[in-house]
Protein backbone atom coordinates (compact mmCIF):
# COMPACT_ATOMS: atom_id res chain seq x y z
CA UNK A 1 0.00 0.00 0.00
CA UNK A 2 1.30 3.32 1.15
CA UNK A 3 4.88 3.52 2.21
CA UNK A 4 5.74 4.25 5.81
CA UNK A 5 6.50 7.96 5.47
CA UNK A 6 3.17 8.66 3.86
CA UNK A 7 1.46 6.66 6.61
CA UNK A 8 3.31 8.59 9.29
CA UNK A 9 2.33 11.88 7.72
CA UNK A 10 -1.27 10.78 7.54
CA UNK A 11 -1.21 9.59 11.15
CA UNK A 12 0.27 12.92 12.26
CA UNK A 13 -2.38 14.79 10.28
CA UNK A 14 -5.08 12.66 11.80
CA UNK A 15 -3.63 13.34 15.25
CA UNK A 16 -3.89 17.05 14.71
CA UNK A 17 -7.21 17.04 12.93
CA UNK A 18 -8.69 14.58 15.38
CA UNK A 19 -7.77 16.58 18.47
CA UNK A 20 -9.03 19.78 16.86
CA UNK A 21 -12.28 18.05 15.96
CA UNK A 22 -12.73 16.59 19.43
CA UNK A 23 -12.04 19.94 21.10
CA UNK A 24 -14.28 21.88 18.73
CA UNK A 25 -17.08 19.40 19.17
CA UNK A 26 -16.96 19.31 22.94
CA UNK A 27 -16.55 23.09 23.10
CA UNK A 28 -19.72 23.46 21.08
CA UNK A 29 -21.35 21.10 23.52
CA UNK A 30 -20.24 23.33 26.40
CA UNK A 31 -21.97 26.24 24.72
CA UNK A 32 -25.05 24.12 24.14
CA UNK A 33 -25.22 22.93 27.75
CA UNK A 34 -24.81 26.49 28.99
CA UNK A 35 -27.73 27.35 26.73
CA UNK A 36 -29.79 24.57 28.30
CA UNK A 37 -29.24 26.04 31.74
CA UNK A 38 -30.89 29.23 30.52
CA UNK A 39 -33.83 27.48 28.89
CA UNK A 40 -34.61 25.47 32.00
CA UNK A 41 -35.50 27.15 35.30
CA UNK A 42 -33.48 24.93 37.59
CA UNK A 43 -35.04 25.24 40.98
CA UNK A 44 -38.77 25.28 40.31
CA UNK A 45 -38.29 22.25 38.12
CA UNK A 46 -36.41 20.34 40.77
CA UNK A 47 -38.97 20.93 43.45
CA UNK A 48 -41.88 20.08 41.24
CA UNK A 49 -41.48 16.67 39.63
CA UNK A 50 -41.26 14.49 42.72
CA UNK A 51 -44.88 14.71 43.88
CA UNK A 52 -46.16 14.70 40.31
CA UNK A 53 -44.37 11.57 39.21
CA UNK A 54 -46.42 8.89 40.94
CA UNK A 55 -49.43 9.99 38.98
CA UNK A 56 -48.00 11.21 35.72
CA UNK A 57 -44.80 9.36 34.85
CA UNK A 58 -46.69 6.49 33.33
CA UNK A 59 -49.70 7.88 31.52
CA UNK A 60 -50.65 4.37 30.60
CA UNK A 61 -52.32 5.12 27.34
CA UNK A 62 -52.30 1.45 26.58
CA UNK A 63 -53.27 -1.70 28.31
CA UNK A 64 -49.81 -2.76 29.26
CA UNK A 65 -49.26 -0.31 32.03
CA UNK A 66 -52.50 -0.66 33.88
CA UNK A 67 -52.43 -4.38 33.53
CA UNK A 68 -48.82 -4.52 34.63
CA UNK A 69 -49.62 -2.66 37.79
CA UNK A 70 -52.60 -4.81 38.60
CA UNK A 71 -50.58 -7.91 37.84
CA UNK A 72 -47.81 -6.71 40.11
CA UNK A 73 -50.26 -6.01 42.88
CA UNK A 74 -51.74 -9.46 42.49
CA UNK A 75 -48.34 -11.09 42.58
CA UNK A 76 -47.42 -9.06 45.60
CA UNK A 77 -50.53 -10.22 47.36
CA UNK A 78 -49.90 -13.82 46.42
CA UNK A 79 -46.34 -13.48 47.61
CA UNK A 80 -47.43 -12.36 51.03
Amino acid sequence: MMDLTELLVEAATLMGVGMIAVFCFLSLLIVAVMGLAKVAPPIADIAEPKPASPKSTQPANNAAVVAAISAAVQQYRKAK
Partner: protein, 376 residues
Protein backbone atom coordinates in the same frame (compact mmCIF):
# COMPACT_ATOMS: atom_id res chain seq x y z
CA UNK B 1 -6.55 22.43 6.88
CA UNK B 2 -7.04 19.92 4.14
CA UNK B 3 -7.66 17.34 6.84
CA UNK B 4 -10.36 19.41 8.51
CA UNK B 5 -11.95 19.93 5.12
CA UNK B 6 -12.03 16.17 4.63
CA UNK B 7 -13.93 15.84 7.89
CA UNK B 8 -16.15 18.76 6.97
CA UNK B 9 -17.28 17.01 3.81
CA UNK B 10 -18.54 14.20 6.01
CA UNK B 11 -20.56 16.39 8.37
CA UNK B 12 -24.30 16.34 8.51
CA UNK B 13 -24.40 20.03 7.67
CA UNK B 14 -22.70 19.45 4.35
CA UNK B 15 -24.92 16.54 3.43
CA UNK B 16 -28.41 17.30 4.67
CA UNK B 17 -31.25 16.99 2.24
CA UNK B 18 -34.33 19.08 2.95
CA UNK B 19 -36.57 16.04 3.31
CA UNK B 20 -34.34 14.65 6.03
CA UNK B 21 -34.61 17.86 8.00
CA UNK B 22 -38.37 17.78 7.79
CA UNK B 23 -38.49 14.16 8.89
CA UNK B 24 -36.19 14.93 11.82
CA UNK B 25 -38.62 17.64 12.81
CA UNK B 26 -41.38 15.03 12.64
CA UNK B 27 -39.26 12.77 14.87
CA UNK B 28 -38.71 15.59 17.35
CA UNK B 29 -42.43 16.34 17.31
CA UNK B 30 -43.12 12.72 18.22
CA UNK B 31 -40.54 12.94 21.03
CA UNK B 32 -42.25 16.11 22.25
CA UNK B 33 -45.65 14.45 22.20
CA UNK B 34 -44.27 11.42 24.03
CA UNK B 35 -42.25 13.22 26.70
CA UNK B 36 -44.09 16.46 27.34
CA UNK B 37 -47.62 15.54 26.38
CA UNK B 38 -47.22 11.90 27.50
CA UNK B 39 -48.93 10.59 24.35
CA UNK B 40 -48.33 6.83 24.22
CA UNK B 41 -44.71 7.39 25.26
CA UNK B 42 -43.82 3.69 25.30
CA UNK B 43 -44.13 3.64 21.53
CA UNK B 44 -43.86 7.23 20.38
CA UNK B 45 -40.53 7.81 22.14
CA UNK B 46 -38.72 4.97 20.33
CA UNK B 47 -40.57 5.75 17.08
CA UNK B 48 -39.59 9.41 17.26
CA UNK B 49 -36.01 8.55 18.10
CA UNK B 50 -35.91 6.01 15.29
CA UNK B 51 -37.18 8.64 12.88
CA UNK B 52 -34.37 10.99 13.90
CA UNK B 53 -31.71 8.30 13.53
CA UNK B 54 -33.05 7.08 10.20
CA UNK B 55 -32.75 10.51 8.64
CA UNK B 56 -29.16 11.30 9.57
CA UNK B 57 -27.17 11.77 6.38
CA UNK B 58 -24.12 9.49 5.98
CA UNK B 59 -24.96 7.49 9.11
CA UNK B 60 -26.38 4.48 7.29
CA UNK B 61 -28.81 3.38 9.99
CA UNK B 62 -31.29 2.05 7.44
CA UNK B 63 -28.82 0.79 4.86
CA UNK B 64 -27.60 -2.78 4.81
CA UNK B 65 -25.28 -3.19 7.78
CA UNK B 66 -27.01 -0.46 9.77
CA UNK B 67 -28.65 -1.09 13.11
CA UNK B 68 -32.18 -0.11 12.09
CA UNK B 69 -31.88 -2.14 8.91
CA UNK B 70 -31.19 -5.28 10.93
CA UNK B 71 -33.89 -4.60 13.49
CA UNK B 72 -36.51 -3.96 10.81
CA UNK B 73 -35.66 -7.03 8.79
CA UNK B 74 -35.43 -9.35 11.76
CA UNK B 75 -38.43 -8.11 13.65
CA UNK B 76 -40.95 -6.34 11.46
CA UNK B 77 -40.56 -7.90 8.03
CA UNK B 78 -40.95 -11.31 9.64
CA UNK B 79 -43.88 -10.15 11.78
CA UNK B 80 -42.14 -11.49 14.89
CA UNK B 81 -42.07 -8.28 16.95
CA UNK B 82 -45.77 -7.38 16.75
CA UNK B 83 -46.64 -11.00 17.56
CA UNK B 84 -44.39 -11.00 20.63
CA UNK B 85 -45.96 -7.74 21.76
CA UNK B 86 -49.34 -9.34 21.30
CA UNK B 87 -48.25 -12.27 23.46
CA UNK B 88 -47.17 -9.83 26.14
CA UNK B 89 -50.41 -7.86 25.93
CA UNK B 90 -52.30 -11.14 26.21
CA UNK B 91 -50.34 -11.92 29.37
CA UNK B 92 -51.24 -8.46 30.67
CA UNK B 93 -54.96 -8.62 29.89
CA UNK B 94 -57.63 -9.65 32.36
CA UNK B 95 -60.74 -10.85 30.51
CA UNK B 96 -62.75 -11.15 33.71
CA UNK B 97 -65.10 -8.27 32.90
CA UNK B 98 -65.81 -9.65 29.45
CA UNK B 99 -66.40 -13.20 30.64
CA UNK B 100 -68.83 -11.89 33.25
CA UNK B 101 -70.80 -10.08 30.57
CA UNK B 102 -70.06 -11.63 27.16
CA UNK B 103 -72.70 -9.53 25.37
CA UNK B 104 -70.12 -6.78 25.45
CA UNK B 105 -68.46 -8.58 22.56
CA UNK B 106 -71.16 -7.08 20.32
CA UNK B 107 -69.81 -3.63 21.12
CA UNK B 108 -66.34 -4.78 20.19
CA UNK B 109 -67.82 -6.00 16.93
CA UNK B 110 -69.79 -2.83 16.16
CA UNK B 111 -66.80 -0.56 16.66
CA UNK B 112 -64.97 -2.38 13.88
CA UNK B 113 -67.28 -0.61 11.44
CA UNK B 114 -64.70 2.14 11.71
CA UNK B 115 -62.26 -0.18 9.96
CA UNK B 116 -64.47 -1.29 7.10
CA UNK B 117 -65.98 2.14 6.47
CA UNK B 118 -62.48 3.58 6.30
CA UNK B 119 -61.47 0.92 3.82
CA UNK B 120 -64.26 2.11 1.58
CA UNK B 121 -63.22 5.70 2.24
CA UNK B 122 -59.63 5.00 1.28
CA UNK B 123 -60.71 3.61 -2.06
CA UNK B 124 -63.02 6.60 -2.49
CA UNK B 125 -59.99 8.87 -1.99
CA UNK B 126 -58.64 7.46 -5.25
CA UNK B 127 -61.11 9.71 -7.03
CA UNK B 128 -58.90 12.59 -5.97
CA UNK B 129 -55.86 12.91 -8.27
CA UNK B 130 -52.64 11.96 -6.50
CA UNK B 131 -54.13 9.06 -4.59
CA UNK B 132 -53.76 5.55 -5.86
CA UNK B 133 -54.42 3.15 -3.00
CA UNK B 134 -54.73 -0.52 -3.80
CA UNK B 135 -57.14 -2.67 -1.84
CA UNK B 136 -54.16 -3.90 0.21
CA UNK B 137 -53.10 -0.31 0.96
CA UNK B 138 -56.66 0.59 1.90
CA UNK B 139 -56.93 -2.42 4.21
CA UNK B 140 -53.70 -1.55 5.99
CA UNK B 141 -54.83 2.05 6.40
CA UNK B 142 -58.30 1.07 7.57
CA UNK B 143 -56.91 -1.02 10.43
CA UNK B 144 -55.93 2.25 12.13
CA UNK B 145 -59.60 2.32 13.10
CA UNK B 146 -58.94 -0.82 15.13
CA UNK B 147 -57.03 1.36 17.63
CA UNK B 148 -54.57 -1.39 18.24
CA UNK B 149 -50.90 -0.74 17.55
CA UNK B 150 -49.41 -4.21 17.09
CA UNK B 151 -52.33 -5.28 14.91
CA UNK B 152 -51.83 -2.25 12.69
CA UNK B 153 -48.09 -2.84 12.41
CA UNK B 154 -48.53 -6.55 11.72
CA UNK B 155 -51.10 -5.94 9.00
CA UNK B 156 -49.18 -3.07 7.42
CA UNK B 157 -45.98 -5.12 7.35
CA UNK B 158 -47.84 -7.81 5.40
CA UNK B 159 -50.04 -5.70 3.12
CA UNK B 160 -48.38 -2.30 2.63
CA UNK B 161 -44.84 -2.08 4.02
CA UNK B 162 -44.26 1.25 2.27
CA UNK B 163 -47.04 2.83 4.28
CA UNK B 164 -45.97 1.21 7.55
CA UNK B 165 -44.40 4.31 9.05
CA UNK B 166 -47.35 6.58 8.39
CA UNK B 167 -49.85 3.96 9.51
CA UNK B 168 -48.07 3.22 12.78
CA UNK B 169 -47.62 6.88 13.57
CA UNK B 170 -51.27 7.60 12.81
CA UNK B 171 -52.44 4.62 14.86
CA UNK B 172 -50.48 5.54 17.97
CA UNK B 173 -51.19 9.24 17.63
CA UNK B 174 -54.93 8.76 17.46
CA UNK B 175 -54.83 6.22 20.27
CA UNK B 176 -53.21 8.94 22.34
CA UNK B 177 -55.86 11.41 21.22
CA UNK B 178 -58.75 9.20 22.32
CA UNK B 179 -59.59 11.54 25.27
CA UNK B 180 -59.98 14.41 22.81
CA UNK B 181 -61.63 12.62 19.86
CA UNK B 182 -64.20 10.52 21.68
CA UNK B 183 -66.10 12.68 24.22
CA UNK B 184 -67.85 15.03 21.74
CA UNK B 185 -69.03 12.08 19.64
CA UNK B 186 -70.21 10.23 22.74
CA UNK B 187 -72.16 13.22 23.98
CA UNK B 188 -73.68 14.00 20.60
CA UNK B 189 -75.13 10.50 20.24
CA UNK B 190 -76.52 10.01 23.75
CA UNK B 191 -79.09 11.79 25.88
CA UNK B 192 -78.33 12.91 29.40
CA UNK B 193 -80.65 10.22 30.78
CA UNK B 194 -78.83 7.51 28.89
CA UNK B 195 -75.46 8.73 30.18
CA UNK B 196 -76.79 8.55 33.73
CA UNK B 197 -77.74 4.86 33.56
CA UNK B 198 -76.05 2.90 36.31
CA UNK B 199 -75.10 -0.68 35.56
CA UNK B 200 -75.29 -3.75 37.80
CA UNK B 201 -72.17 -5.01 39.44
CA UNK B 202 -70.43 -7.74 37.49
CA UNK B 203 -70.51 -11.32 38.78
CA UNK B 204 -67.24 -12.87 39.91
CA UNK B 205 -65.58 -15.10 37.35
CA UNK B 206 -64.02 -18.46 38.16
CA UNK B 207 -60.44 -19.38 37.44
CA UNK B 208 -61.59 -22.21 35.22
CA UNK B 209 -63.54 -19.85 32.98
CA UNK B 210 -60.52 -17.61 32.68
CA UNK B 211 -58.33 -20.54 31.67
CA UNK B 212 -60.82 -21.87 29.14
CA UNK B 213 -61.54 -18.45 27.62
CA UNK B 214 -58.31 -18.09 25.59
CA UNK B 215 -58.64 -21.69 24.44
CA UNK B 216 -62.21 -21.03 23.29
CA UNK B 217 -61.18 -17.86 21.46
CA UNK B 218 -58.35 -19.67 19.72
CA UNK B 219 -60.62 -22.59 18.90
CA UNK B 220 -63.20 -20.41 17.17
CA UNK B 221 -60.47 -18.55 15.31
CA UNK B 222 -59.03 -21.82 14.07
CA UNK B 223 -62.43 -23.00 12.92
CA UNK B 224 -63.58 -19.84 11.22
CA UNK B 225 -60.69 -17.48 10.55
CA UNK B 226 -57.28 -19.16 10.38
CA UNK B 227 -55.79 -15.98 8.87
CA UNK B 228 -56.24 -14.30 12.26
CA UNK B 229 -54.49 -17.07 14.19
CA UNK B 230 -51.01 -15.51 14.28
CA UNK B 231 -52.37 -12.47 16.13
CA UNK B 232 -55.10 -14.22 18.10
CA UNK B 233 -52.93 -17.25 18.80
CA UNK B 234 -50.06 -15.34 20.36
CA UNK B 235 -52.53 -13.21 22.30
CA UNK B 236 -54.22 -16.32 23.64
CA UNK B 237 -50.87 -17.95 24.47
CA UNK B 238 -49.99 -14.94 26.60
CA UNK B 239 -53.38 -14.96 28.27
CA UNK B 240 -53.26 -18.71 28.90
CA UNK B 241 -49.80 -18.40 30.48
CA UNK B 242 -51.26 -15.69 32.71
CA UNK B 243 -54.43 -17.46 33.75
CA UNK B 244 -53.21 -21.05 33.96
CA UNK B 245 -51.17 -20.15 37.03
CA UNK B 246 -48.69 -22.94 36.36
CA UNK B 247 -46.08 -20.97 34.41
CA UNK B 248 -45.84 -17.73 36.38
CA UNK B 249 -42.14 -17.44 35.55
CA UNK B 250 -42.89 -17.38 31.82
CA UNK B 251 -45.92 -15.13 32.16
CA UNK B 252 -43.95 -12.61 34.17
CA UNK B 253 -41.16 -12.48 31.60
CA UNK B 254 -43.65 -12.12 28.74
CA UNK B 255 -45.34 -9.23 30.57
CA UNK B 256 -42.18 -7.41 31.46
CA UNK B 257 -38.68 -7.83 30.10
CA UNK B 258 -39.67 -9.48 26.84
CA UNK B 259 -42.38 -7.00 25.89
CA UNK B 260 -40.19 -4.10 27.02
CA UNK B 261 -37.18 -5.13 24.96
CA UNK B 262 -39.35 -5.83 21.92
CA UNK B 263 -41.13 -2.50 22.35
CA UNK B 264 -37.83 -0.62 22.14
CA UNK B 265 -36.85 -2.47 18.98
CA UNK B 266 -40.30 -2.29 17.43
CA UNK B 267 -40.46 1.44 17.98
CA UNK B 268 -37.02 2.05 16.50
CA UNK B 269 -37.84 -0.12 13.50
CA UNK B 270 -41.14 1.64 12.86
CA UNK B 271 -39.37 4.98 13.19
CA UNK B 272 -36.85 3.84 10.60
CA UNK B 273 -39.70 3.75 8.10
CA UNK B 274 -40.25 7.50 8.54
CA UNK B 275 -38.11 8.50 5.60
CA UNK B 276 -38.86 11.58 3.55
CA UNK B 277 -39.65 9.74 0.31
CA UNK B 278 -42.14 7.46 2.05
CA UNK B 279 -43.66 9.88 4.54
CA UNK B 280 -43.67 13.32 2.89
CA UNK B 281 -46.34 12.36 0.39
CA UNK B 282 -49.92 13.22 -0.20
CA UNK B 283 -50.74 9.63 0.82
CA UNK B 284 -49.61 10.39 4.36
CA UNK B 285 -52.05 13.28 4.54
CA UNK B 286 -54.74 10.92 3.32
CA UNK B 287 -53.77 8.33 5.92
CA UNK B 288 -53.87 10.88 8.72
CA UNK B 289 -57.28 12.11 7.59
CA UNK B 290 -58.66 8.60 7.15
CA UNK B 291 -57.31 7.57 10.54
CA UNK B 292 -59.23 10.34 12.26
CA UNK B 293 -62.39 9.39 10.36
CA UNK B 294 -61.88 5.73 11.25
CA UNK B 295 -61.68 6.54 14.95
CA UNK B 296 -64.73 8.75 14.83
CA UNK B 297 -66.81 6.20 12.94
CA UNK B 298 -65.67 3.37 15.22
CA UNK B 299 -66.62 5.38 18.29
CA UNK B 300 -69.98 6.31 16.82
CA UNK B 301 -70.89 2.81 15.73
CA UNK B 302 -69.89 1.46 19.12
CA UNK B 303 -72.11 3.99 20.89
CA UNK B 304 -75.03 3.40 18.53
CA UNK B 305 -74.80 -0.35 19.06
CA UNK B 306 -74.77 0.23 22.80
CA UNK B 307 -77.85 2.44 22.47
CA UNK B 308 -79.62 -0.37 20.65
CA UNK B 309 -78.58 -2.90 23.28
CA UNK B 310 -79.66 -0.48 25.99
CA UNK B 311 -83.16 -0.23 24.50
CA UNK B 312 -83.44 -3.99 24.03
CA UNK B 313 -82.28 -4.67 27.59
CA UNK B 314 -84.78 -2.24 29.03
CA UNK B 315 -82.24 0.39 29.97
CA UNK B 316 -79.74 -1.75 31.82
CA UNK B 317 -76.81 -0.74 29.64
CA UNK B 318 -75.24 2.71 29.60
CA UNK B 319 -74.63 3.48 25.92
CA UNK B 320 -71.40 5.33 26.72
CA UNK B 321 -69.59 2.02 27.14
CA UNK B 322 -69.98 1.41 23.42
CA UNK B 323 -67.21 3.91 22.82
CA UNK B 324 -64.78 1.59 24.59
CA UNK B 325 -65.33 -0.96 21.83
CA UNK B 326 -62.65 0.64 19.66
CA UNK B 327 -60.03 -0.88 22.04
CA UNK B 328 -57.28 1.67 22.80
CA UNK B 329 -57.04 -0.19 26.13
CA UNK B 330 -57.38 1.18 28.79
CA UNK B 331 -57.66 4.80 27.61
CA UNK B 332 -61.06 4.40 25.99
CA UNK B 333 -62.48 2.76 29.12
CA UNK B 334 -61.18 5.63 31.20
CA UNK B 335 -62.74 8.16 28.87
CA UNK B 336 -66.06 6.34 29.24
CA UNK B 337 -65.69 6.49 33.01
CA UNK B 338 -64.88 10.20 32.91
CA UNK B 339 -67.80 11.12 30.64
CA UNK B 340 -70.07 8.98 32.79
CA UNK B 341 -68.96 10.77 35.95
CA UNK B 342 -69.68 14.14 34.35
CA UNK B 343 -73.34 13.14 34.03
CA UNK B 344 -73.62 11.39 37.35
CA UNK B 345 -70.84 11.76 39.91
CA UNK B 346 -71.64 8.39 41.45
CA UNK B 347 -71.64 6.44 38.21
CA UNK B 348 -68.41 4.49 37.90
CA UNK B 349 -68.37 2.80 34.50
CA UNK B 350 -64.71 1.78 34.41
CA UNK B 351 -65.19 -1.93 35.09
CA UNK B 352 -68.18 -2.11 32.74
CA UNK B 353 -66.19 -0.44 29.98
CA UNK B 354 -63.31 -2.91 30.34
CA UNK B 355 -65.47 -5.62 28.75
CA UNK B 356 -66.09 -3.82 25.44
CA UNK B 357 -62.54 -2.49 25.63
CA UNK B 358 -60.86 -5.89 25.54
CA UNK B 359 -63.58 -7.09 23.17
CA UNK B 360 -62.34 -4.36 20.83
CA UNK B 361 -58.88 -5.95 20.82
CA UNK B 362 -60.36 -9.26 19.74
CA UNK B 363 -62.67 -7.51 17.29
CA UNK B 364 -59.87 -5.76 15.48
CA UNK B 365 -57.75 -8.91 15.41
CA UNK B 366 -60.72 -10.65 13.81
CA UNK B 367 -61.14 -7.77 11.35
CA UNK B 368 -57.44 -8.02 10.54
CA UNK B 369 -57.93 -11.71 9.87
CA UNK B 370 -60.82 -10.98 7.50
CA UNK B 371 -58.70 -8.43 5.64
CA UNK B 372 -55.72 -10.79 5.46
CA UNK B 373 -57.77 -13.68 4.19
CA UNK B 374 -59.53 -11.47 1.62
CA UNK B 375 -56.63 -9.40 0.39
CA UNK B 376 -53.44 -11.16 1.49
Amino acid sequence: MEGLQKLWLETGIANFEPGQLVMMAVGLLLLYLAIVRKFEPLLLLPIGFGAVLANIPNAGFTEEGGLLYYIYHVGIETGVFPLLIFMGVGALTDFGALIANPRMLLLGAAAQFGIFATLFGAILLNTIPGFDFTLADASAIAIIGGADGPTAIFLASKLAPDLLGAIAVAAYSYMALVPIIQPPIMKALTSKEEREIQMEQLRPVSKREKILFPIAVLGLTILFLPAATPLVGMFCLGNLMRESGVVDRLSKTAQNELINAVTIFLGLAVGSKLSADKFLTVETLGILALGAVAFAIGTASGVLMAKLMSRLSGGKINPLIGAAGVSAVPMAARVVNKVGLESNPHNFLLMHAMGPNVAGVLGSAVAAGVLLSWVG
